[in-house]
């Protein structure tokens, strides 16, 4: 590999050829601020915040796109550079909705941090301001263009991570704004609600649709029995909102916090993930034995489900008919558990805490109402839960570790790893292999389907069959697999797809990491490691061995995929327009 020697602020540094000045500076221990730049998806040199002086160059250059050259001398913080950055940010601020005090991103806003670091005068320039109505049409995502700085990071995430491409820069000059095809609302286009756009937004222009007030109302309504369940990834994301390092598992404190928020039935959606494995595992076995549609594709990720409905409706028969763990959770709460408590399902209010914004859309889908009322009433993202906890004055770090309640408080390691790309596949394989082979697995770790690679393939010998599996995360990779299936080039039996790159642990409802962290830390792997190490340390690591699962089949469902299970735990899909 050829290398380049240059000097950053007189510090000699050697970097690989092809590195940018920004990367070279990092190697020299020098931080250059950025705004529009996002590693791998958005290097457009548009915002001019990362400008630096290069000896001999005519003007300042954008370090995020300018290649480092042999013998180059770069200065990153001269008065000229700082003044330029300051003016740039002041000009952005001149047309920015500065309602910062009550902004959801206050204290976690990249524009705010830059303005403060650079010593900007936020009121320095005044002039015409744009006005755009807030787009709150979508069940998952709210866009407020008065806070948009046109960095195009959301556009890049939508296009390059997801190939969904429903948002873009429209019109020109001062009128340029990010919106959808023909100025439609996000709910009228093929937006899947994954929320990756929110996660990359430097400001408060994009946010989740907040449901905290609905939950507070339910908690204060004496006629309601309020049930809550938390998804696998929430416990390894939530801590970031309270100053824990990335990848801290705060399961016990999370359960304690939920109790202090007023929830009387604090459950774990990991239990419902185990239930999903029972249903999906047996559905898979039945498809293999009875010549059903293969490859079978998982249906846990509502962003993915909506994506296939919009883009590959002809492949819908490949989808498992299983509801997602969230919907199964609500369905068993309002049938089995409501019966057990003697509560009318209409008086039961089921809340889930999810790393996901698409789950907010999913709860309103048709055929998600096992008890004749919607399975789920409210979905809070990890971020909303953190806000709720802070609002109620709960000192999160001081909380004791508490367990979940029974009967839906027991989840296996298999249920927990649902939070990572490859986790659903591994959980299913643990169960399918033992059921089909009729003997315990020697090794529970299916390493080949783990990790952050976009598309993973493996094959396993199960009951004499060579079972070929594929795992994709990020809809760009999902699209690649779907094209293979369409062309008849895919001979897989089973495919797992999660809409978000890396899986739910990087979901659109997880704590927002700044571009600084995203560009220079592998935060996804840190979160993933936390999930697998928790699984490793658990005694219960297989869904079919979960005693709560055994109990519910014995008492209520009978057989996996039986009649009652089909009514309560399975659903249907619809073809949607491509546009």
């Amino acid at each position: 590999m050829s290398t380049i020697n240059l000097k950053i602020n007189n510090i000699p540094v050697t970097v690989a050829a092809g590195s940018t000045i920004l990367e070279a500076a990092r190697a020299a221990g020098v931080k250059i601020p950025t705004l529009c730049y996002l590693k791998d998806i958005n290097a457009i040199g548009a915002c001019r915040v990362c400008v630096v002086e290069v000896k001999g160059a005519r003007s300042l250059v954008a370090s995020c796109v300018y290649p480092a050259n042999e013998g180059m001398e770069v200065f990153t913080s001269t008065p000229k550079v700082i003044e330029s950055r300051r003016t740039t940010v002041e000009l952005i601020l001149s047309d920015h909705n500065k309602n910062c005090l009550s902004c959801v991103r206050s204290t976690n806003c990249e524009l705010q941090s830059l303005a403060e670091e650079l010593g900007c005068n936020a009121q320095k320039f005044s002039g015409e301001s744009k006005f755009y109505p807030v787009d709150a049409s979508h069940a998952s995502i709210v866009r407020d263009n008065s806070k948009c700085i046109l960095c195009r990071r959301c556009v890049a995430a939508c296009k390059n991570y997801q190939t969904v491409s429903v948002i873009g820069a429209n019109a020109r000059g001062f009128d340029t704004h990010i919106s959808c095809l023909f100025e439609k609302g996000l709910n009228e286009v093929a937006c899947v609600g994954c929320g990756q756009c929110i996660n990359v937004c430097p400001t408060g222009a994009l946010r989740e649709k907040d449901e905290i007030d609905n939950v507070i109302a339910a908690l204060n309504d004496p006629s309601k029995t309020v049930v809550v369940g938390t998804a696998p990834s929430v416990r390894i994301g939530l801590g970031e909102e309270f100053g824990y390092p990335i990848g801290a598992n705060v399961e016990g404190k999370m359960a304690a916090a939920l109790r202090r928020l007023g929830f009387k039935h604090v459950f774990d959606v990991d239990f419902a993930a185990d239930l999903t494995i029972m249903e999906e595992g047996y559905e898979f076995i039945s498809r293999v034995k009875n010549g059903g549609k293969l490859p079978m594709i998982t249906s846990c990720s509502p962003g993915w489900v909506k994506f296939i409905e919009h883009n590959y409706p002809e492949l819908i028969p490949h989808l498992s008919s299983c509801k997602s763990p969230q919907q199964m959770f609500g369905a068993v709460a309002k049938t089995y558990y409501a019966e057990k408590l003697g509560v009318d399902p209409k008086d039961m209010y089921v809340v889930t805490i999810m790393p996901c914004t698409a789950k907010k859309f999913e709860k309103g889908r048709p055929h998600q109402d096992a008890a004749g009322v919607p399975d789920i009433d409210a979905v809070l993202t990890t971020r909303e839960l953190a806000r709720f906890i802070k609002r109620q004055g709960i000192m999160f770090k001081e909380l004791p570790d508490e367990p979940f309640d029974s009967p839906f408080g027991i989840g296996s390691g298999a249920g927990l790893i649902f939070g990572s790309s490859g986790g659903v596949m591994e959980a299913a394989l643990r169960t399918v292999a033992e059921v089909l082979d009729g003997k315990p697995l020697k090794k529970l770790d299916f390493q080949d389907v783990r990790g952050m690679t976009g598309i993973k393939e493996a094959s396993y010998k199960i009951a004499g069959i060579n079972v070929k599996v594929a795992v994709a995360s990020g809809l760009k990779n999902a699209r690649e697999l779907m094209e293979k299936i369409k062309k008849g080039e895919a001979d897989y039996h089973f495919i797992e797809i999660m809409a978000c790159p890396g899986g739910c642990l990087n979901g659109g409802g997880q704590p927002i990491q700044s571009a600084e962290t995203r560009n220079f830390t592998d935060y996804r792997t840190l979160r993933m490691n936390a999930i697998y190490s928790a699984d490793k340390s658990m005694k219960l690591r297989k869904s079919h061995e979960n005693p709560a699962i055994k109990e519910i089949y014995k008492e209520y469902f009978g057989e996996p995929n039986g009649n009652r299970a089909h009514h309560v735990l399975h659903t249907r899909y619809v073809a949607r327009s491509k546009f």
Binding site: K130, S165, N170, L181
Partner: protein, 164 residues
């Protein structure tokens, strides 16, 4: 300015126009950067760029429809609004402007009930504000299709339109 002006006129494209567009796109698709020439060709065929046409372009060229819309709204040569049976243009060049073309345009907006770059819902009139059309001696000037009306005032507008 908030949102981009969109027409409420229903799409009236013919099968013949669509065949012509698809034939052209089959050729254009082979080139790099096909969206611009595709939009230009489509505007030649349809006179404007309705949503239905942009979706055909997106589908055939295999680019996101939002990207096509982004290009169509970036360049001022592209229009999303159809021309009416009678296309009314008011010159806003310097000479016409100082002679009161602004008031003429305002009067037209009120009379026709549409803004500049829009088409009336019955498809009869469209309204444009143009740059200098080169007959400053007649300022202020407006045209309706090929007819030229010079030295007009805002008060004349109603009478002129009455003949159409």
């Amino acid at each position: 300015m908030a949102k981009i002006k969109l027409t409420k006129i229903p799409f009236k494209g013919t099968d013949g126009q669509e065949r012509e567009l698809r034939a052209a796109l089959a050729e254009i698709k082979k080139k790099k950067g096909a969206v611009m020439p595709a939009l230009q060709r489509a505007q030649e065929i349809y006179g404007y760029l309705p949503m239905e046409v942009q979706q055909i372009i997106a589908e055939v060229l295999e680019v996101p429809a939002e990207e096509v819309f982004g290009v169509a709204t970036f360049y001022s040569q592209f229009t999303l609004n159809p021309r009416g049976q009678y296309n009314v243009s008011v010159c806003l060049g310097t000479a016409c402007y100082v002679k009161g073309a602004g008031e003429v345009l305002d009067a037209l907006k009120i009379q026709l009930g549409i803004e500049a770059d829009e088409c009336s819902e019955d498809g009869k009139f469209s309204l444009n504000a143009t740059r200098c059309i080169g007959c400053c001696g007649l300022a202020p000037v407006m045209t309706i299709n090929d007819s030229v009306f010079g030295k007009i005032t805002a008060d004349d507008v109603e009478k002129i339109l009455a003949d159409y």
